[in-house]
Each structure stands twice: as structure tokens, then as C-alpha cells.
Subunit: 219 residues, 2 copies
């Protein structure tokens, strides 16, 4: 268990750690950096998410993970993970299930990046975060703390920070969102979902891995 500041690497591409990390508080992200210095963020990790289960199976990280905000992190030894997964099929199943949901999110992000204009990209991302954060009790009906930079939003959606800025203004002007003091408020959730063409099916909310179970693994 440890505290980490914002914008610090939790694990880097190529690493072969012998433990697995679990986010208890704060936001983190998976990312890769290209030779020319461009960065692409490929996932947001929120409390309850396991960072690098891959390592226990694949042996080596094929991407890096960094905090976006200050975080509280739990460490679980890989041996413990292996024991849990081999001795408790239900946990193995739950973790696999979790992996499949992550895959679903990645696919939806691909749709977003490939086929949605910038304003809907942002809107869609906000819808997803609202729903995901609600399931772990970190969002109200229509708002949540969101200390992510416009630069980081750009790296997430494949946009420049300048363009993110302009599009955010559009969304504000259209009365879709309020983003102020590191808090995002959705003015009318249904309207934003409609605008973003957001269908939560891909999150498979009905059977999410209970954060309690995940946290239980830490002990």
C-alpha cells in the first residue's frame, strides 16, 4: 500500500514486476509513447481497477501506466494472484470477466476515435466515466471530480490540446456540460448520452467485479 503523486509512472513498458497493483484512490491511465514523443492514452483506471494483471499471465508489460491524479495503490504479490486464480475458480472467472469488459471498452474507444467527431468523442468519454464512476460510488447522478488536463484529454482521444479546449467550449456553450474547478457536471445526462450516441451495453454493468472483492485480494 502506498501513495503516489500525480503524473508518475506506476509501471513501464518492458517491466517484469513480481506483483500486481490495484488502484484504491485516484485516476491512472495506460499509455504508450511513440518515437517522436507523441503519447496515446489507451485506458483510464479508476478505483477498484487492477493495473497490470497482464504481467501475471503474459510476463511482460507491453505498455506503461501512470497516475493522472494523486493515487493510493495496493500491491498484491503475483504468487498470491496465481494462488487465488488456481484455487478459486470463481475469482479466476471474475478476473477473466473483468478483462473482457476492459476489452469491450477498448473496442468502444476504437469506434470513438475512428468514427466520431471531436465533440462526440469528448461527450462519449464523459458519459462512460460518469457511469463507471457511479458504479464505484465516485459520481453523483450527474457529476464527478475530474482533475484531468486538456492535454491529457487530447492524448486520450488523439486530438491536440488546443482543439480539446475549443470543443470543450462548444459543449459548454451547448449547455451539455459544466467543467470547472476540476469537477465535471453533466447538465442533462439523457441529452448528453443522446448527443454522444452512448449505449452502456459495452460496459456489461450487470455483473461487474465487486470492488470489495478486488480490495479483498489486497489482504
Amino acid at each position: 500500500m502506498r501513495h503516489v503523486g500525480a503524473r508518475e509512472d506506476l509501471i513501464r513498458e518492458g517491466d517484469r514486476p513480481d506483483d500486481v497493483q490495484l488502484i484504491l484512490e485516484g485516476f491512472a491511465c495506460r499509455y504508450k509513447v511513440l518515437p517522436d514523443g507523441q503519447r496515446q492514452i489507451m485506458a483510464y483506471l479508476i478505483p477498484g481497477d487492477i493495473c497490470d494483471l497482464h504481467v501475471a499471465i503474459l510476463g511482460q508489460m507491453d505498455h506503461s501506466i501512470a497516475t493522472l491524479t494523486p493515487c493510493k495503490i495496493a500491491h498484491i504479490s503475483q504468487a498470491a494472484v496465481l494462488e487465488l486464480t488456481t484455487k478459486h475458480p470463481s475469482i479466476h472467472h471474475a478476473l477473466w470477466w473483468n478483462t473482457l469488459v476492459d476489452e469491450g471498452i477498448l473496442r468502444e474507444w476504437l469506434v470513438t476515435m475512428g468514427r466520431r467527431p471531436a465533440d462526440k468523442q469528448l461527450a462519449h468519454l464523459f458519459c462512460e466515466l460518469l457511469v463507471r464512476l457511479q458504479t464505484v460510488g465516485l459520481a453523483s447522478q450527474n457529476s464527478f471530480d475530474f482533475g484531468v488536463t486538456q492535454e491529457e484529454l487530447g492524448d486520450t482521444l488523439g486530438l491536440s490540446s488546443v482543439h480539446v479546449n475549443r470543443v470543450l467550449q462548444q459543449l459548454r456553450d451547448g449547455d451539455l456540460i459544466v467543467l470547472k474547478d476540476k469537477r465535471l457536471t453533466v447538465v442533462d445526462v439523457e441529452r448528453l448520452k443522446l448527443f454522444a450516441d452512448f449505449d452502456p451495453l459495452y460496459l456489461h454493468l450487470t455483473r461487474r467485479l465487486p470492488p470489495a472483492l478486488a480490495q479483498g485480494m489486497a489482504s
Copy 2:
């Protein structure tokens, strides 16, 4: 076991089938269609790949799968999958491993779509397919059959078919590839990899699920 023509759906978003499909021959793809009719392809499925293992775990498809070329498909009952995974931890592990590799591919695609220009997008995709097809014996040192349409390539990379066409010509002019008669030949593999900034780490080739094992499941 059945034969399917090109451009036919194998399974659709929302379906809850009670079997799982395995590609024995041909190419297929995962895709979603937006309300405005735009399509995004999110994965290529090649022989040895399991289409919709998700269903056995998540219960419902959150995307569709269609053939790109004529295919030979094997069906495996979900009951058989569940029995295999519960009774044979090694198979469970192998399938999970497979899922994680698919996730790695999705992340790399996200990088491609977000941060690479069109010419490198195509080059990177070709590198990936070359390597993946080599591992299942369907590509020579530098070429493979590739009956995918420019329109479909566009839907894969988030580009218009017109632009795909022009960029393909650039790649041909640059002597990087030859794409003719539904066969893709890479003129100089190392040069293309360099151009595309292709690093196969994300494919985790060292431990791929042996196609033989996958096919064994069909019986």
C-alpha cells in the same frame, strides 16, 4: 462446422448464442455500426481465432462479427467451453492469455488510430497481419493472401476508402509494398517495420495459443 460466404454476419450485437465459433479458414472482423451508418472494424479474426468467447462469460455480444472473405467455421457448444475451462485449468489459462493478447492488439490499434498518419497506419496494420499470419502458417516470409477491400481497410483505420486508395499508391510508389490480385507482398520487411514503427512486443508471440489446441476444442 460450416462454410460461409464473404461479407456475411457470423453473430450480431445483442445476440446470446449458446455456442462459440472458431475460424478455421478465411478472414473475419469484429465491427460496430453507428446510427448514421458509419462502420468501425475493431479486430481482424484469422484462422485459429475464437470469435465470441465473450458470450460464454459476458452473456451478450456488445458488437457484431462478419466474414471478410469466405470462411470455414467450427461451432463449439458453450457447455463444452465451460466444461473445458473448469476442468482444465491449463486451457482456461490459455484462453485468458489469448484474451490478453487481443487486448494488447486493441491498445496498439488505438495508438495507430490516435497518433499515426494514414500511411503509417496502413504500414503498421500490414506488419501486424504479416506476423500474425506467419504464426499460423498462412504467410510466407514477406507476403500473404489479402482479399480485403479498400473500403474495409478504411473502416478499419477510420479513413475514407478514397484516402486509403491514395495512400496505398504512396506505399507502392515508395516501394514498400506490392498489393495486387488479392495478395500483399512486403518488398522489404525491415524497412516497412521501421517505417511503421512496428514493435511486435504487443503480440506476445512467445506463447501464442497453439492453433492445434484451439482446433482440438472443436472436436
